[in-house]
């Protein structure tokens, strides 16, 4: 290093004088590309942080500002009203809406993981004719817009569909205001992603391990849940967390498959909208509710972060 700087000598000073600041910067960047990479990293990180974290900050600003002052907002709260986080629970039973969201999310996640595990096992570890086409079909269906299913599913789940077999007519059950019309479409919609993730993971578990488990005394299913699933923990965690978050954030079915009451299994979305009255819109309460609603997921992601990252980036499993 020292020889390099000393070797530049007097001539380098001359050259530096002739160039402008940009020219010098380019010169340095070429000599030391690491600086540029680091600079680019900071720029990208700051951009990312601003775009993702600013909304949270903005929510906080809105929440702390008394509602009547929320006009022409700047970057700072106009006032300080932390009791809004208590008022929000008084005005609307927001904890019940959160509980509903949790139940819906966990139920869906369990169903999705169970079914996707079976499907992932079959797709990842068995050979059978038509496997590629079937997998392609599943992936294709996962790209259908959920809105396309909405009306038929609404008709189905509100008991307006009947099936006639000869003299017998079977009417679909009225599931409106129960968890079922949300959990069922969620499970179906989020299954393909989980199947895809678990297929890659289960496919990487060496055959020998499954064979060993089977010789030792498990069935294929036993080998799946005793050996393959534990070894694919990062993949299962990834699929689980992604499904949970997706359900927790879901708006469409959550909004339309119930009457918006906490007792009808309406999730967080309905809770936030519930603050809106006929004559006023308490933005501060809604903002506070949004923050409270996000917190559990943020905590979950922080806890599971390591797993998710390793799950998304690699099938990091050695034999």
């Amino acid at each position: 290093m020292s020889s390099e700087t000393s070797g530049v000598g007097v001539g380098a000073d001359d050259a530096e004088m002739k160039r402008g600041p940009l020219g010098r910067w380019v010169d340095k960047a070429i000599k030391n590309p690491d600086r540029v990479y680091r600079a680019m990293f900071y720029v990208a990180t700051v951009f990312f942080l601003v775009t993702t974290l600013f909304p949270f900050y903005w929510l906080l600003v809105l929440a702390l500002t008394p509602n009547r002052l929320i006009t022409n907002m700047g970057l700072l709260p106009k006032g300080f009203q932390p009791e809004v986080f208590i008022t929000m629970f008084e005005r609307v039973p927001f904890h019940l809406f959160m509980f509903n969201s949790f139940v819906l999310g966990i139920t869906t996640t369990v169903i999705v993981l169970l079914i996707a595990s079976l499907a992932g096992y079959v797709f990842g570890r068995l050979r059978f004719p038509g496997k590629g086409i079937l997998m392609l079909g599943i992936l294709a269906i996962s790209y259908f817009p959920p809105a396309a299913f909405l009306i038929p599913l609404f008709e189905l789940f509100t008991g307006n569909t009947a099936l006639s077999i000869g003299a017998v007519t079977i009417s679909s059950p009225d599931l409106f205001n129960t968890p079922a019309p949300m959990v069922l479409p969620f499970s179906a919609l989020f299954l393909p992603l989980s199947i895809f993730i678990l297929t890659t993971f289960y496919g990487q578990i060496p055959d020998g391990l499954e064979d060993a488990a089977r010789v030792e005394g498990t069935t294929r299913l036993g080998a799946l849940f005793r050996v393959i699933v534990p070894l694919s923990a990062p993949g299962v965690a990834t699929a689980g967390v992604l499904t949970f978050i997706a359900v927790y954030n879901e708006f469409f079915f959550s909004f339309l498959m119930n009457n918006g009451e906490a007792s009808s299994w309406a999730p967080i979305v309905a809770g936030i909208l519930k603050y809106q009255g006929q004559f006023d819109t308490p933005f501060n309460l809604m903002a506070a509710a949004s923050i409270v609603g996000v917190l559990p997921v943020a905590v979950l992601v922080i806890i599971a972060q390591e797993r998710i990252v390793s799950g998304l980036t690699a099938g990091a499993l050695k034999e």
Binding site: P206, G208, D211, A213, E216, G217, T219
Partner: protein, 395 residues
Amino acid sequence: MGDVKLEHVSKHYDDVTAVDDMNLEINDGEFICLVGPSGCGKSTTMEMIAGLTIPSEGKVFIGDREVTNLPPKDRGVAMVFQNIALFPHMDVYDNISFGLRLRNYDKEEIDRRVERASEIVQLGGMLERMPDEMSGGQRQRVAIARAIVRNPGVFLMDEPLANLDAKLRVHMRTELQRLHKELDTTIVYVTHDQAEAMTMSDRIAVIDSGQLQQIDPPLVCYNEPANLFVAGFIGSPSMNFLDGEITENGFVSTNIDVEFDPADVGIETGRDVTMGIRPEDVYLVQNERQVANPTHRIEATTDVLEPMGDEIFVYLKLAEEAHADLEEASVAANDQLLMSVSPDSDIEEDRDVEVVLDRTRVHLFDTETGIALSHGIESTITASGPADAEAESDD
């Protein structure tokens, strides 16, 4: 209870036949090796015994039960895998006790059995380690402990030593033999390494192209191979083969003749045969006295020497014998002969030498079918070895 029987077992994959009409009887307590080149169907055979693969045709029996369609867990077998296949998320204790826990043994019984199994394979004090904290040999021992802890009727070992380094492999080989002596359980052992098969087993089953070629004790496979494949596969380096023909003077080829009366060995004249001779049964002329019943001298030139320490392998280029009457078809394959000599032999590369063959150790095979016609020229076909032949020629 530990005898295994395969009856007309075949396994087809799409248009490939992995195992073709295999009949195999393995006795209780026997150590049997399935050997063959890779892709010959030996692993498939073992998987069908284990139940990991269901045969397309035929029946599998373990003990006196037919198990053809039973899942692996109900067959009373234990298996050691080539890639060891320890469960990486469990410690040694949990790995060994996996099968027992699945069968709901009580805690004390599990502890007792795990302790005994880990003693047998010398794993004391390592029960709390994770597999990735252990060496290859230790892992292999855990895998063996996992297999023996259930007292299975049959052990299946699928190239268990293939992933170990050479030194450890030899060490584990003797440990496996000791284990077999101690447990006295049937062991079916798959390997492509004929040296492993020779040293460990009671009987060797040589398999090629999905078919059983020969099943016999190691030395019988070595001394009296049933066909060309077995002769070439068993023994390292491989047996020399020379294609030729039977005439009234005996065996005639472009390079080597061996005189005998074809009537003595019961082969009609005019038949195309392949002569086989192992490298250690080729002698330099100066050592001719060591051979009770040598052939006439054969001229050759030394080509490449491979000193192994305890012996030297010498590649000989054979001079052509003058046989105008012989067809030229098989000339190319016939001009080389591998000989092994003791390391103190006076031998150099590119020198003219004369060698003799031990007539009692000459094998004759039908060239077309590969079936052995005679082992040892002076003896009749049914006689079994050099002992008889020497007695005969000792007049």
